[in-house]
């Protein structure tokens, strides 16, 4: 966990890609879950932020 936060602070690809992946997965789950309408409403923005973040951070140093 510490190495993950260190990676975020030092702008390392692995940690940021992990964060972006979590956001994308969370967005997809929010989009397709049958429980809370509000989660569905905000699903796209979460997925979009995750996807754009993923494209950007994949150019960070390893």
């Amino acid at each position: 966990m510490t190495s993950f936060f260190n990676g975020l602070v030092r702008f390392r690809r692995g940690a940021w890609e992990m964060l972006a992946s979590i956001l994308i997965a969370l967005g997809v789950v929010m989009l397709m879950q049958p429980f809370v309408m509000v989660a569905f409403t905000y699903s796209f923005i979460v997925t979009l932020v995750g996807t754009v973040m993923f494209i950007i951070v994949s150019h960070f140093p390893e």
Binding site: A25, V28, M37, Y42, S43
Partner: protein
Amino acid sequence: MTHAPMEKIARATPAPVARRIKGLSDRAIAWIFVAPSIFLLLAVNIFPLIWTIRLSFTNYRVNRPNRDVEWVGLRNYERILTDDGIWATMQATAHFLIWTIVLQVIIGFALAYLINKKFKGNDLWTTVIVLPMMLSPAVVGNFWTFLYQPQIGLFNYVIAFFTGADPASFSMIGDVNLAPWAIVIADTWMWTPFVMLICLAGLRSIPDSIYEAAECDRASKWRQFWTITIPMALPFLMLAVLFRGIENFKMFDLVVQLTGGGPGNTTTLTSIDLKREAFERWRTGYSSAYAVILFVTVFGLASIYVKALNKVKER
């Protein structure tokens, strides 16, 4: 001697062309060769994507080309993401996606595992199993409609044989609870062979020497399966899940032919709903926003999946 064909080609180049390209660098020549592909890619993929994103912020209707197009900002996105009907469509798609992938991976891998064992008629069985994949989705949808017929359908008689129920007492494509399963079964029947082929390629890539070494170490078959077969076939399994996941997220033809999205909207998947918005209700701007949402979702999922696949391959 090895350059002879190149020299022959150079000699065959018409003099005016040869004069024109004589002063070009290798890089420029490479660009000349690549340019048509790049142009085609921009024209066929990138331009429509940018145009769709632009349209998603407008109220454009393609059936009213002379009407003024208004810039509506994020209103289309807002309407889609607060629509109960679209939310239900997403849930239907999730049900279809999850169950088809789970069933296709389990059955496909099991079939590949069996086919990988050397036995008489192995090739014949491979061909027979692969047949459904070669059929057109429209044809598959059409004959599964007959198989699901309550009065004459073979499927109902098979279920009746095992459960003792009356074959005419249930309708797979007419019942709101059964219809989502009807499309899952038909898609699984059609596309399990595809997963099987990918898994078979994975299983055949595992060298026998690894199993022989495991035998020397007295590893049980069960242990060999979990510590050799599964880890080494995992990249192939993940590839199959990626392909089927993307394809099933966009599933259209088979379901339209089989249920037409009904009964009610229980089997209306996102692509069917999108087609209705775009080409039946003619709400082009709205459906563009819908398409952008689906595109971002598939793109995001594919990105993390490809990353996971690369990690597994690196191991």
